[in-house]
């Protein structure tokens, strides 16, 4: 970034891929991929899920060997047999899911597998700590080397991951979806770190599927689609729309509705007041959470993952006991903590873990579609199921919700993420719910499927269902919600009308800032 343009032109790229291909049984993960990363540049790899980003980074880090093509570093051909070779060559990976041991200190985590020069049997922790402090000062990544990982915030943990790579003398850092777990404020700090890295001659390969972020952070962007490198573009001059078109291969419509709101006089269908519940470790995870959802309204719950959203959703679905508080569904008090009670009261639930919690992966689409209704006619004539009815219902739901599968007898585990989500929404909506609780409904889906799922949620709201949408994706929240409830450490830090909300204003609340305005 600060290197001048002329010197860039003469130096060979820090790392470059020439015609890299990698096949797996039945899939071509990478097909003739070309790209080059200059010294001191942030180079984004942009693509949808399944476009080949992960495979490519696994090739760069020595986990896979390419079937064809080769890599060059500084103009010299290299080939990596093991991850060790890539590390020795100066390539370091900052994983999306941190590879850190929570009970170890920062220094212990960084020292793992990276012996100090001249080290014998004894481990010199003081020397490791000194080196970490030096690196921290050099790259403005301050963190206490003696702190234990579990005591650190997610942003600090990411700094440890970056330091871990720098400690191993990496010149090229690969970051896999690094902002996925960060608050907007932490994401800003990360982009400052990127500047500090590149200004000291390090190069960054920034893997992402988020268009806006890629434009603001990267110098150049290589777009991958279906395993192929489509184009390398300068970030300046690119727009979300132009990138999306290259990424998907066609023009993409964005589903958007802001602040349409509940129908006038629509009743409150879900009312939660003063809800407390414990998390998995027995510590309070929800603290006095209150919120209302009216029929026809989409209320989003925003927040960084792990701030009580999962617990809230599980309490509403009857999967987690509450310690105190009141839940009222369409005027009726929910007073029992079992999973069947909310279903009967009209609460539909689309969990984050679609295939594991939401569906029975080995059962067919048809069987999954009646999982919540199999006790009563017309699906059953107790104690027997009526397979002809089940199948006919499945056919019509699959058509209505555009589920693409070989047949209604296909096991759901064989479906793509988008179709899994459609089956799940079809089942939940077919129960004619009053409230639809959905948790991160588009995580991991490709752009086309995202648009379909968004449309289905809007349809549900249009039918008068109150939708509670839990999402970590602020773009999604802002595009769909009428109101946004922000959670931080188990409490609601603010409720904002979507019409007035911006990423920045929600970001402050996500980091624990309080707002006095309650809509």
């Amino acid at each position: 970034m600060t290197t001048d343009v002329d010197s860039k032109a003469v130096t060979a790229p820090a790392v470059a891929a020439f015609g890299v291909s990698k096949r797996f049984p039945g899939v071509i993960a990478n097909d003739d991929v070309h790209f080059d990363v200059r010294v001191g540049e942030v180079h984004a790899l942009l693509g949808e899920n399944g476009a080949g980003k992960t495979t490519l980074s696994n090739i760069l880090t020595g986990l896979y060997r390419p079937d064809a093509g080769h890599l060059e570093m500084g103009g010299v051909r290299v080939s990596f047999d093991t991850p060790r070779d890539a590390i020795d060559a100066g390539i370091g990976m900052v994983h999306q899911h941190f590879r850190l041991i929570p009970t170890f200190t920062v220094a212990e985590n960084i020292a793992l597998g990276a012996p100090q020069p001249g080290e014998r049997v004894r481990l010199d922790m003081a020397a490791v700590e000194r080196r970490i402090t030096e690196l921290g000062e050099q790259f403005e990544l301050r963190v206490d080397p003696r702190a234990r990982i579990w005591q650190l915030s997610v942003g600090e943990q990411q700094r440890v991951e970056i330091l871990k790579v720098l400690y191993r003398e990496a010149r090229i850092l690969i970051m896999d979806e690094p902002t996925a777990v960060l608050t907007p404020i932490e994401a800003d700090a990360l982009s400052q770190t990127l500047t500090s890295l590149t200004s000291q001659g390090r190069s960054v390969i920034f893997i992402s599927h988020k268009l806006g972020e890629v434009i603001s952070v990267a110098d150049r962007i290589t777009v991958l689609r279906q395993g192929r490198s489509i184009e390398t573009l300068d970030a300046t001059g690119s727009t979300r729309e132009s990138l999306a078109t290259v990424m998907v291969g066609r023009e993409v419509e964005r589903v958007e509705r802001r602040g349409v709101g509940a129908l006038p006089g629509a009743p409150v269908v879900l009312s939660v007041s003063e809800l407390d519940a414990d998390g998995d470790r027995g510590l309070p995870a929800l603290r006095s959470v209150s919120l209302d959802v009216r029929g026809g309204e989409i209320v989003a719950v925003a927040g960084v993952a792990g701030n009580g959203q999962r617990e809230l959703v599980e309490v509403l679905a009857g999967l987690r006991p509450r310690t105190s508080g009141r839940i009222v569904v369409d005027g009726e008090i929910m007073d029992r903590a079992d999973a069947r009670h909310p279903i009967r009261m009209g609460v539909a639930y689309v969990p984050q873990d679609r295939l594991g919690t939401g569906l029975a992966p080995d059962l067919s689409i048809a069987e999954n579609l009646v999982l919540k209704r199999y006790r009563r006619p017309p699906v059953a004539r107790p104690p027997f199921l009526r397979s002809s009815v089940i199948d006919a219902e499945a056919q019509s739901l699959m058509e209505q919700f555009d589920v693409r599968a070989p047949s209604s007898q296909t096991p759901t585990r064989r479906l793509s993420g988008g179709n899994v989500q459609k089956v799940l929404l079809a089942r939940e909506m077919s129960g004619r719910p009053k409230v639809l609780v959905v948790s991160t409904p588009t995580q991991g889906l490709d752009i086309g499927a995202v648009a379909t799922v968004h449309q289905l949620l809007l349809d549900a709201a249009a039918e008068g269902v109150g939708v509670l949408l839990v999402s970590e994706d602020l773009d999604e929240v802002l595009a769909l919600a009428d109101r946004v409830v922000v959670m931080y450490e188990g409490s609601v830090t603010g409720v904002v009308d979507a019409a007035d909300a911006t990423v920045a204003s929600i970001g402050v609340l996500m980091g624990g800032g309080r707002s006095e305005e309650v809509a």
């Binding site: 060790r84 041991i101 212990e108 990276a114 049997v121």
Partner: protein, 321 residues
């Protein structure tokens, strides 16, 4: 009567004497568990060690300084072989660790291989020709109170102290120890920085088994000291509980081992003094305590809080697409 024949001095001294096999077995199991592998085969491996040591002690003629190390070596090899079966099953084949360990104890245990071998070798008819006797360390045996407790033990006890210190240093002060703990906490993380999970797990399971073999030899070379079927009397299970009791730390495990050693020896000690107590009750104490400890920690939430290695009992498979 000197202070050294005071009842409490004798209880302490025999606590250490009877606790010594527990120290070896529990520290061995601790090493395996720190790598993420539970080995319920401790009892079986101890019996394999005991029978092999007894065989050497009964059949090899020679000076004690030669025969006894040989007997210990035989115990370590036999138990190490037992442990390597477990290691192969659970690390390479990813068999359920609980089932494999139980199978090892049943296979090698009181009604299995160890008794068969003892039968074949004709063991148990005579006391061992050579045994580890009490050693007056630094000539301090007569020292009041501490003398009989600390300086009138067998060489095996002194070795167990060296072992505990060595394992403490190894775990918390060396790079290999750091890597071992990482493998037990998060094999994914260890693998991602180039530490061989498989190698660490095999190594520590097998070394752990060898130490269980030494524990078995403590019975056939000092405590009993000959062969008798099932002579370890379930102490392998106590060792398993001790690892948890000691929060996976060698020093605390040693304290626990002596506590259980005291419980195990209480009935002899009291009887020898002519104190009348129901011995069945006293004999049951260590086992009751073991069951209590195991019930408490079998709740995974509690055991996590106690410091159990996070990946304990879980096979590791590198994620591939």
């Amino acid at each position: 009567m000197s202070v050294n024949s005071n009842l409490f001095v004798i209880i302490f001294a025999s606590a250490i004497f009877y606790g010594t096999p527990l120290v070896f077995a529990a520290v061995g199991e601790l090493l395996a568990e720190r790598s993420g592998v539970i080995n319920l085969g401790v009892e079986g491996m101890m019996l394999l060690g005991a029978v092999s040591a007894a065989m050497v002690a009964a059949n090899v003629d020679g000076p004690a300084a030669l025969v006894l190390p040989l007997a210990l070596l035989a115990a370590m090899v036999a138990a190490g072989l037992g442990a390597s079966i477990h290691a192969f099953l659970v690390i390479t084949l990813r068999v359920n660790q609980i089932i494999s360990g139980l199978a090892l104890t049943i296979f090698a245990g009181a009604a299995g291989l160890s008794s068969y071998l003892a039968n074949v070798w004709g063991l148990g008819k005579h006391p061992a020709l050579n045994q580890f006797g009490r050693m007056d360390l630094f000539g301090l045996k007569k020292f009041p109170v501490l003398g009989p407790i600390l300086f009138d033990q067998t060489l095996l006890t002194y070795l167990s102290w060296v072992l505990v210190v060595a394992v403490m240093v190894y775990l918390f002060r060396t790079r290999m120890g750091l890597h071992l703990r990482a493998v037990g906490e998060s094999p994914q993380t260890a693998d991602s920085v180039g530490i061989s999970v498989t190698r660490y797990r095999y190594g520590h399971v097998i070394v752990g088994g060898m130490l269980a073999g030494v524990a078995g030899a403590c019975f056939s070379l000092t405590i009993v000291p000959t062969w008798a079927n099932g002579l370890t009397a379930g102490e392998g299970w106590i060792a398993l509980a001790l690892v948890i009791f000691g929060f996976w730390r060698p020093d605390l495990t040693l304290v626990g081992a002596y506590l259980f050693g005291a419980l195990s020896s209480l009935s002899y000690t009291l009887q020898a003094r002519g104190i009348d107590v129901p011995t069945a009750l006293l004999d049951a104490l260590p086992y009751v305590a073991t069951i209590v400890v195991l019930v408490i920690v079998s709740n995974s939430r509690i055991s996590r809080r106690l410091g159990s290695p996070a990946a304990l009992g879980r096979p590791y498979e590198r994620e591939e697409r």
